[in-house]
Symmetry: C2
Subunit: 343 residues, 2 copies
DNA sequence: CTGTTAGCGCCTTCAG
DNA sequence: CTGAAGGCGCTAACAG
C-alpha cells in the first residue's frame, strides 16, 4: 500500500490570479482586515479559494506577521492519564480565541534532573515553533520546578505551582472540595465521619483535611483525631486505613476517603465485614477517576477535580498575560460533588 | 502579575555576524550538512549560538526547505484516557527520526456528523501547519470513518481501521491476547474456564473469543457454550455475567473476563459468595487499565494492549509512506500477559 | 571550504 | 478600494 494523493500546492498568488485580483486583496478578504471590499470581489476570491483548495501556510503567515497564534502545552499526560481533560478545556478555550494548541508531553512526574532535561528539550522544540505562551500542566496538584527556558515566554502553571510563586498558577480548590464531600455526609445525617487521608504531605491531603475539619465545625460537630487516619494513596492504603477505622470501639457511620482509589480499598474492607454501602456505611471519595468511581458497586459519590475548567482558565490567563495584562498570581477553581449511590 | 521576559529575537544573521562568518556557514554547522568545516570555525559558530541564545525558527525553516518535519496525530484521547500511551510511543519514535508530533484531539468517539466535522477542522488546522503525514488514533479498536481531508496527506490508522481498507492500519492482536490469557489459566491447571464476553459485536470481543477457543483447542479442552456468557462492558455487566457462571451446576474454576472493568464486577460476585481469588477462582482480565487492574485486590493478572508499540509502529509506517515506500495495509501488534496475583 | 544570491508564502506599509 | 514592493528567517544551488 502506498501514499496516494500529494498535497496540492496552491499559493495565495494562484488564488489571486484565478480571481483576477492582487495578492493583497486575497489577503484582505481572508483575514477580514479591510472593511470595504466589494461583495462581488469577496465572493470571487472565496470561490477561487475553495475551487483551488487553497490552504493558508501557517508557517509563512507566522513568519510574515510575527504572530504564530500557537500556545504550547506541556503535560505529564502519559503517567496519569485522567488529567487529559485539561487538554480538552485548554483546546476549546484556545480555539474560541483563535489560538491553537501545540501539545508536548513529558514521560515522568519529574523532579529529577533527567526529567527536567526532557522538559527543557520539549519546551525548546515548542519555542522553535514560536509559541506565544506556555502552559505547564501537572497530573497531580503539587509544587514543581519550572525549567529555566520557560522564562523566555509568558508561562502559566495548571494544577501545580512553583515554590517561588514566580509564575501565575491555577489550582483546584481542595479545601472547598473537602467541605462539600463532608457536608454531603453531614446532610445525610451522619455525625461520626471518618476521614482517610494521605500519609504523604501533599497539597491535596492538606486541603481536603482542612475542608473536612471546616465542614465539621460549620455543622457543630466535634473533631475527633481518632477518626482521621492516613495511608498511602492506593487501594491497599485505603483498605488498611478503613479497617483501622472500622475497628474503633465506636465506629464511624460514614467515611470520607482522600481519593477514589482509597475508597476502592475501603469498599473491600466494608464488604468483608458484611456491612453494606450506603446502608451501614456511607462513603465519599475524591478525584472522580471514572474508571474507578463510576464502576464501583455501588457507584461512588465523589468530588470531581475541575481539570477542564483549569485548562480553560489556564488559556484565558495566558492570553491575558500575552497581551500584557495584569493577572492574578494564584487562581483557585472549585471542585464539585458528583452524586452517585454510596451515600 | 505580569509577563516578565520577552523572547529574544536573534536571527541567523546575528549569529553569523557574531562569529564573523556568513549565514550559509552557520546553517551548515547547525544542520551538519557540509562535512569539512574547520573545527575552529565550528566552535566559534556554536559559541555565538549559545551566547546569543539563538533558536532556529521552525516556520522559516519549513518555508525555505519545504519540509516541516511535523507529523500530525489526531486522537480521541479525551474520552478514553487510557490510550494515551499511543502518544508516548509515537512521540518517542518520531523524535528518534527527527520528526515532531503535532497533537490534536477530538471530543468524541465520533461516528456522527458533528464529530466528523470537528475532526475535519482539526485536520485542516494540522494541514495548515504543513504536516507531512497524519496518524489517526482511536481509543478502542474499531472501524472508523476517515474524514476526506485526510487524503491530502499520507495517513495511517492506529488502533482502528477503515471499512474500505483504503488506509494502512495498526491494530492489536486480540486473538493472540485471548490465547495468552486463556493459556495462563490452562497452565495453572484449570480445565473449566469461563469466558465473559461483550454483548456488543466489536473486534475486541470477536478476537478475544476466538483466542479463547483456540487456546482451549490447543490444550485439548472441550469448548462448552454454557461457559461463555456476555454482558455490557462495565463492572455491572461483569458482575451479572460472573453470577450466571457461578450459578452453573458445575461451576468454572477460572474466569477469563473480556476486560478489566468486567473483571472488577466479577471480583465482587466472587467475593460476595465468600469465594477467594485465586484460591477458589482464578481470574484474568484484558486491557490493563491500570487504575483498575493494579489496584484490585488481589491485583489482576491481565493482558496489556500494546498502545505504545502501536504508536511507534504508526510513526514508523507513516515515515515509510512519506518516503514513498510500500507498506503493509494491516499490521497486528501482539498483546502481552501481565502477571499479577489473580491466577 | 565559505560567501552570494535567490526565493519559500505571506503580510504590510505605502501609493495610486 | 486595490496594487506594488519589501521583508520575515531560513535553505539551497552556485560560484569563488
Amino acid at each position: 500500500m502506498m501514499a496516494s494523493k500529494v498535497r496540492s500546492d496552491v499559493t495565495m498568488a494562484d488564488v489571486a490570479a484565478a480571481a483576477g485580483v492582487s495578492r493583497t486583496t486575497v489577503s484582505f478578504v481572508l483575514n477580514k482586515r479591510q472593511a470595504g471590499i466589494p461583495e462581488e470581489t469577496r465572493t470571487r476570491v472565496l470561490e477561487a479559494v475553495s475551487t483551488l483548495g487553497y490552504r493558508p501556510n501557517a508557517g509563512a503567515r507566522a513568519l510574515a506577521s510575527q504572530r504564530s497564534d500557537w500556545i504550547g502545552l506541556l503535560t505529564e499526560i502519559v503517567t496519569a492519564p485522567f488529567a487529559v481533560n485539561v487538554i480538552k478545556g485548554a483546546k476549546d478555550r484556545a480555539w474560541a480565541d483563535h489560538k491553537y494548541l501545540l501539545i508536548a508531553s513529558t514521560d515522568d512526574n519529574v523532579t529529577d534532573a533527567a526529567g527536567l532535561a526532557d522538559q527543557t528539550v520539549q519546551i525548546e522544540k515548542l519555542l522553535e515553533q514560536r509559541i506565544e505562551g506556555l502552559l505547564l500542566a501537572a497530573t497531580w496538584h503539587r509544587a514543581i520546578t519550572v525549567p529555566d527556558v520557560a522564562r523566555e515566554v509568558p508561562t502559566v502553571l495548571v494544577n501545580c505551582f512553583d515554590a517561588a510563586g514566580e509564575f501565575p498558577s491555577i489550582v483546584p480548590d481542595e479545601v472547598g472540595g473537602g467541605v462539600v464531600a463532608t457536608q454531603r455526609l453531614v446532610a445525610a445525617g451522619h455525625t461520626r465521619i471518618g476521614f482517610i487521608t494521605f500519609e504523604d504531605d501533599i497539597p491535596a491531603g492538606q486541603g481536603r483535611l482542612r475542608g473536612y475539619t471546616r465542614a465539621l465545625e460549620a455543622a457543630g460537630l466535634p473533631f475527633e483525631p481518632t477518626l482521621v487516619t492516613g495511608g498511602d494513596a492506593t487501594a491497599l492504603g485505603g483498605y488498611d486505613a478503613a479497617n483501622r477505622l472500622l475497628d474503633l470501639a465506636e465506629r464511624p457511620t460514614a467515611l470520607f476517603c482522600g481519593n477514589d482509589r482509597m475508597a476502592m480499598g475501603a469498599y473491600d474492607a466494608i464488604k468483608e465485614r458484611g456491612l453494606s454501602i450506603p446502608g451501614d456505611l456511607a462513603v465519599t471519595g475524591f478525584d472522580n477517576q471514572e474508571l474507578v468511581s463510576a464502576y464501583l458497586r455501588p457507584a461512588l459519590t465523589t468530588v470531581a477535580l475541575p481539570f477542564e475548567e483549569m485548562g480553560a482558565a489556564g488559556v484565558a490567563t495566558l492570553t491575558a498575560l500575552i497581551q500584557g495584562e495584569e493577572v492574578p498570581s494564584l487562581q483557585t477553581v472549585s471542585c464539585s460533588l458528583l452524586e452517585r449511590s454510596s451515600v
